[in-house]
């Protein structure tokens, strides 16, 4: 049962990732990316990480995808000439990506992780427990990340703002 859900979510994530790369239309590509993010959120639910699943949907499925779609709409890409993709590029990409995957799989095969899963407490990955960890041990990185967000916001506004000459 759970194994079936895992296989379904994995196949969905891999398929939509491949379609993200190979879809010709940019908007289709973004929509496939959303599908992939939802599949990964389902994986988080399976892994008992409900907080991560919700944050993944809100941040990636909501904010970042709206940002992408807005950028595509603002750029008005249909008027510009279509970017042609060469076949030799495809061969180079698939060969190098496949070699990378081969190396990874060989590395896994060499030392297979036969772990016995640790016993999880019932509230593992819940918002309450993660909030306690986040605001006790990781409070300094949390505050620094808020500064990072502020600087990213200001930086992007300054970049996009029209220059007055």
């Amino acid at each position: 049962m759970i194994r079936d859900i895992f296989i379904f979510l994995s196949v969905l994530a891999l398929f939509s990732a491949v379609m993200t790369v190979f879809a010709r239309n940019l908007v289709h590509s973004i929509l496939y990316l959303i599908l992939c993010f939802f599949a990964i959120a389902g994986h988080y639910l399976l892994l008992n990480a409900e907080f991560l699943a919700i944050v993944n949907i809100i941040v990636y499925g909501g904010a970042i995808m709206v940002l992408f779609l807005f950028a595509v709409m603002l750029l008005n890409l249909n008027k510009t000439k279509q970017i042609t993709l060469s076949r030799i590029n495809l061969f180079a990409a698939v060969i190098s990506g496949g070699t990378l995957l081969l190396v990874f799989v060989a590395a896994i095969k060499k030392n297979s992780f036969t772990v016995t899963p640790a016993a999880l407490s019932s509230d593992f990955g819940s918002v309450k427990m993660l909030g306690k960890i986040l605001f006790n041990e990781y409070i300094l990185p949390f505050e620094i990340s808020s500064i990072l967000f502020l600087s990213a916001m200001i930086g992007s506004i300054i970049l996009v703002k029209k220059e007055h000459r």
Binding site: L14, C36, A93, F113, P117, L130
Partner: protein, 109 residues
């Protein structure tokens, strides 16, 4: 509700590693293959998400919630990165009227 312990029993850790590594390699292929810079940023997001999935899997199998905090921070950094990256693409589009990455070569030599 699903009994979460049963996920860890039913699915070996190697499967999660394999899925996220395959996602990572698909992202690599996309970065090398595509020339539209928006798609390249999307492929970078794909790779970041595959690493997030791997961290969450290790965290769950280890029974240690610190990995999930790391995933949270990676998401924060990824959101900031996408914001600035898309702003840069918009600025470059204003200059050369294209998002083709091979035309962004003013600083190349």
């Amino acid at each position: 509700m699903i009994n979460y312990q049963s996920t860890l029993q039913a699915v070996p850790l190697n499967w999660y590693i394999l899925v996220s590594l395959t996602l990572f390699c698909i992202g690599t292929v996309g970065i090398i293959y595509r020339r539209n810079s928006i798609v390249i940023i999307m492929c970078i997001e794909l790779m970041i998400n595959s690493v997030n999935l791997l961290l969450a899997a290790f965290s769950a199998y280890n029974g240690n919630a610190d990995g999930q905090i790391f995933v949270f921070f990676i998401m924060v950094v990824a959101a900031a990165e996408v914001t600035v990256g898309l702003a840069l693409i918009v600025v470059m589009y204003r200059n050369i009227n294209s998002t083709d990455i091979s035309l962004f070569n003013n600083l190349k030599w």
